[in-house]
């Protein structure tokens, strides 16, 4: 999850990337956007995190997540 947030920091900028990640209540973040704790099912939380970025800027931001999708095949991919 830190990897996803890291990618979105590069794409969208650190402020908005971290602000959006904080919208997922199951994720606890450090000041610099690193995930320190995850509550609940990690796959579900991961999907929720991706959804929050897609909600803001569309499917295009998932382009950078190819390696993560490969690593975690259970994550929903944009249709």
């Amino acid at each position: 999850m830190s990897e996803i947030i890291g990618k979105q920091i590069v794409i969208l900028g650190p402020e908005i990337a971290v602000l959006r990640a904080r919208k997922v209540p199951e994720i606890s973040l450090s000041e610099d956007g690193k995930v320190v704790d995850v509550k609940g099912d990690p796959d579900e939380v991961l999907n929720r995190l991706i959804d929050t970025y897609v909600e803001l800027s569309g499917e295009i931001v998932t382009n950078a997540l190819g390696t993560i999708f490969t690593k975690y095949p259970s994550i929903k991919r944009a249709a």
Partner: protein, 584 residues
């Protein structure tokens, strides 16, 4: 007791008053907060509407994304505090980077923003974007080396058009933690709305382009259309064939520049046509062995607010290879005719010079021989000129025949007799055959039919080796029957002439055929026989009997002028049958 109760009541009243005051204070404060929030929301909404209206007014939601981004970047100061607002746009061969400085920042600040934007583009595209491709424009406040503030706040908004990344909008500031999510979200909303509008327009344009592509699909001419940035927007199959493009999909402009390398500078021509605002034609451009006439034209809008503006260019490749071949054939034919005329003319001149000599004039035997040669050369020339005149009349549709009732048997017998001497000289057996029911008289132009029979007989004798046979046959054809079968039934010398089995459709007529046992004609050359421009190397005896080939062209014209048909059948190494029909 009474005073105690009074004190209690006073305390109670004061407490109640305090509670009421406190509640009122908090209610007012909450109301104020709500009002303030509503005011901010209204301001944001107003900004959102104002900027969308401005985009619509200034660009009409055109396909020019840069214009839209200019409007957004130019109005941001009404809504956000920033040091630099900039954008990057992905072009065909470069990336446009424009930054507007609201306040002075250092060159390093700009460099940092540019680098962050490139990294963002790279992350989304998944490919490396070289910094060298970036074309930078800085506007607004001046850059100062002395301002040492780094980038402390920034965010990017990806610009997506029709599902593809078109660019990036960036806001950056020297202050830290400046941007709130609501402000960023509004800006996202505006950019997304503009992107959607452009995407919709692009969809419309794509639909129109597919209509244009469908129309171009069936065109024989190769057609390529480009936009102002030299991106190929349409290219039909013929255009792909011109450059040898065999892959699926649309070729790029690069494919065209590569495919036309060293033969046609397509980009320079398009630039020139656009600059001069006129159609440029280039004659005889040879591309991959084919000849083309290439037209390059600017494409302008003819309606709407952009009326008259250049939208791109169109290139049309017209294949003139066949015209060039025909031109070559015409030139070859003219050269051949000149050569054929020059040869007897040269002889006449030489003989004339010799006849000037008193010695030769006084020698009756020698002068008679020279006069004979003079006659022969001038006859050859006259025949050739007559053939040319006949062909010219045929082409002009002025070839008339003077039909009279003539005995066809007599005509053929007379011609066989005429050629018998030369046939005997060549040790060739010449004969004639007349089938049953051949009428005594037929309606023909005797002079012209004699010309045809002469031509067929002279060719047959010329191309038949010693010991060979030549036969002139004359028989009746009946509608519904095949000419070849009719000939075979009569056991005459014959090579099948009706390969397509269509002769049964020919009405009752007289068939005249000349069959030889010569070397025959190659199948591929048969079609060339009746074409005035096409000569072929057919025989080892070609030098011996080289002619202009006009005789058969004239014969075809004569027979067609009689309403008949002419044709042939041949077997290589065995012989040929030339036939014509005369309507009854």
């Amino acid at each position: 007791m009474l005073s105690g109760e009074i004190i209690f009541i006073i305390v109670l009243i004061l407490s109640l008053y305090g509670v009421v005051v406190a509640i009122s204070f908090f209610a007012v404060r909450r109301m104020k907060q709500n009002l303030k929030k509503k005011e901010i929301d209204a301001r944001h909404r107003m900004y959102e509407l104002a900027i969308l209206k401005e985009i619509s007014d200034r660009t009409g939601y055109s396909l020019n994304i840069q214009k839209i981004l200019d409007v957004i970047a130019g109005s941001l100061n009404q809504f956000l505090e920033y040091s630099v607002a900039g954008y990057m746009l992905i072009g065909a061969d470069k990336i446009i980077f424009k930054a507007d400085l609201e306040r002075s920042v250092s060159p390093q600040f700009i460099k940092d923003v540019r680098m962050r934007m490139l990294k963002s583009l790279e992350a989304i595209l998944g490919v490396s974007v070289p910094d060298a491709q970036v074309e930078e424009t800085i506007t607004g406040a001046v850059m100062l080396e002395t301002v040492l503030e780094p980038v402390r706040s920034y965010f990017n908004i990806p610009l997506v058009v029709s599902g593809k990344l078109a660019g990036l909008l960036t806001i950056a500031h020297t202050k830290e933690g400046l941007y709130k999510e609501e402000e960023i979200a509004i800006l996202y909303k505006i950019v997304n709305q503009a992107s959607r509008a452009v995407s919709k327009l692009e969809d419309v344009v794509r639909t129109e382009q597919s209509k244009v592509a469908a129309m171009l699909e069936g065109m024989v001419e190769g057609v390529v259309m480009t936009d102002r940035d030299y991106r190929v927007v349409a290219a039909n199959p013929s255009a792909k064939e011109v450059i040898g493009y065999t892959q699926e999909g649309m070729p790029t402009f690069f494919d065209f520049t590569t495919g036309l390398k060293d033969t046609f500078d397509i980009k320079t021509k398009l630039e020139e046509a656009t600059k001069l605002d006129k159609v440029l034609a280039s004659d005889d451009i040879v591309i991959k062995g084919k000849h083309y006439e290439v037209l390059v034209s600017p494409v302008k809008a003819n309606t709407g607010p952009a009326k008259g503006q250049i939208l791109g260019g169109a290139v049309v490749f017209h294949d003139i290879t066949h015209e060039k071949e025909a031109e070559k054939m015409r030139n070859d034919f003219t050269s051949m005719m000149v050569h054929e005329l020059r040869s007897p003319l040269g002889n006449i001149k030489k003989i004339g010079e010799m006849l000037k000599s008193k010695e030769i004039v006084e020698n009756k035997e020698l002068s008679a021989e020279y006069v004979g040669m003079l006659y022969e050369s001038s006859s050859t020339m006259l025949d050739l000129v007559n053939d040319l005149l006949d062909v010219s009349k045929l082409e002009a549709g002025k070839f008339d025949v003077d039909k009279q009732q003539v005995s066809i048997k007599e005509l053929i017998v007379d011609r066989v007799k005429f050629f018998d001497t030369s046939a005997q000289g060549a040790k060739i057996e010449l004969s004639s055959y007349f089938g049953e029911r051949v009428p005594e008289r037929v309606l023909i132009d005797a002079k012209r039919i004699v010309q045809v029979v002469n031509n067929l007989l002279s060719n047959a004798i010329n191309f038949t080796p010693q010991g060979g046979k030549v036969m002139v046959a004359c028989f009746m054809h009946k509608k519904g029957f095949n000419i070849d079968e009719e000939a075979h039934q009569q056991n005459i010398q014959w090579f099948d002439v009706d390969e397509r089995k269509i002769s049964s459709a020919i009405s009752d007529c007289l068939v005249v055929a000349v069959t030889d046992s010569g070397e025959g004609i190659e199948h591929e050359n048969i079609g060339k026989l009746f074409n005035k421009f096409t000569q072929f190397s057919s025989s080892i005896r070609e030098r011996e009997h080289k002619g202009t080939g006009l005789g058969l062209v004239v014969a075809k014209g004569i027979i067609e002028a009689h309403g008949g048909t002419i044709g042939l059948g041949s077997k290589e190494g065995a012989g040929s049958t030339f036939y014509f029909t005369i309507n009854l």
